[in-house]
């Protein structure tokens, strides 16, 4: 078997925003099918790096590498649904924009909604959905194109703990259910979420935006029932919390 190249990579990528300290250079390689959590203090450029990986922004320096010519799925901090369209139309959008005929697109969208547990809410408008359900619709929309890279920008931050945990387990299940698992990059500021969700956590330095630490998470994905009580999980959370603390730009004044 030939060695597979990365699904996506940042090679010395830098970002200069006027009036702000530059971010980078960042070296980050994401292998096909792995789940990476990006953690770091706010302002470290987590969301910016995600937009670089998505191709929504160009780096000021360095390069952004994307593997095979594949699809990218993106989930924003809020569900970002079109309020005038029902769940089915929202999920079908990426397919229809790429020219897939409406009936086919809608059929695939219905399948994707089924997969996130919303098979009975196809005609619901976003305002008729709870925050968790709206996020599931956004997840279905990101997955409907069968992306090989899935990017999530703190998607569950606004949800309550129970809903958030359920969604993370669902994300694992959807990820594991695919023959070719997508590479997932997940931005979060929550160390417990990062350890539970990802195979490794990349810590960005708050001052420079560079990679400050790269810590593997123990155990297997998806997580077995009750894994949060595991000693390995607790230790990994503590290690990541420590790495995050030393990546904070200024100590003491919190």
């Amino acid at each position: 078997m030939a060695e597979a190249g990365p699904a996506a990579a940042l090679r010395g990528a830098t970002i200069d925003y006027p009036g702000r300290p530059p971010i980078g250079p960042v070296h980050l390689t994401v292998s096909p099918g792995e789940i990476v959590a990006l953690v770091g203090p706010s302002g470290a450029g987590k969301s910016t790096l995600l937009r670089l990986l998505a191709g929504l922004e160009a780096p000021s320096g360095g390069t952004v590498f994307r593997g095979v010519e594949g699809h990218t799925g993106f989930v924003f901090q809020s569900a970002t649904l079109m309020p005038w369209a029902d769940a089915l139309a929202n999920v079908a959008l990426p397919l229809e924009l790429s020219g897939i005929p409406r009936p086919d697109a809608r059929a695939r969208a219905a399948e994707a909604l089924q997969a996130v547990g919303l098979g009975d809410r196809l005609t619901a408008r976003p305002r008729q959905l709870s925050g968790g359900m709206a996020m599931r619709v956004a997840l279905a929309r990101a997955l409907v194109t069968r992306p090989d890279v899935l990017l999530l920008d703190e998607p569950f931050a606004a949800l309550d703990t129970v809903t958030r945990r359920r969604l993370i387990d669902d994300l694992h299940r959807l990820w594991a259910g695919r023959d070719a698992r997508p590479a997932v990059v997940f931005v979060t500021h929550d160390v417990e979420e990062a350890v539970y969700l990802a195979g490794r956590a990349v810590v960005l330095d708050g001052a420079t935006g560079r990679v400050a630490a790269d810590l593997p998470s123990p155990g297997v994905l998806p997580r077995p029932e009750g894994w949060r009580a595991d000693a390995g999980y607790r230790a990994a959370v503590e290690a990541l919390a420590g790495a995050l603390a030393s990546a904070m730009p200024s100590r003491g004044a919190t």
């Binding site: 993106f74 369209a85 924009l97």
Partner: protein, 250 residues
Amino acid sequence: MTRLLPPLLLTLILLAGWEIACRVLQVPPYFLPPPSAVARALIDRAPILAASAATTFGMAMQALALAAVLGGGLALAVSLSRNAERAVRPLAVALQVTPVVAIAPLVLIWTGLDQADRAVVILAAAVAFFPLFSGVLTGLKSADPDLERLFDLYGATPLQRLIRLRLPAALPFILEGLRVAAGLSVIGAVVAEFVSGSGATQGLAWRLLEAGNRLRTADMLAALVWLMAMGLILNALVGALERRARRALA
């Protein structure tokens, strides 16, 4: 029904007070006729006033259509380029702040005094232009920036973006602009008719002038009642349209 009752009641009380005051104080009818006299004028002059109302309404609607096409079209064109917007917006504001009365004589010269109805349509359209231009332009730029990014991500064409994202997002703003513009188009038509003067057009404004010149104050007020009713009906129609669209979009 209960929502209509308080304003109806207040109107009745005001009318009754007016009638009583006119009778008790023996106000001369050329100065202020009682509501009963206005009611009589409304009945006696109903055919003439209805025809004039139709004329004014027709001109206002033509003006609104013209303003919608020009304002909406220009906003659509301008929304495609930030520099185009920078270039056009001050001119649009300049048009808005120029009093329509002041440009009326000029427009009358251009259209010819024998084509006063055209001048009225153009002037009313000039008044109705800005809310439509501004509404469409604001609306087209009101889409959720993250949704715009999503359309970037999936490589949407400009046309797809316009039809599937920006126009639906703009619709509430467009209808709000339309509501304001509809009211302004009637005002613009009346003002333009006043300026074009002596019977060149036969709208409600001309009826007002005509009755005023003859000191037939009751007839003046009757024409005013028609104008008011027209404005209210127009406002209610566009308001209903707006509410329906909001329900469809929310």
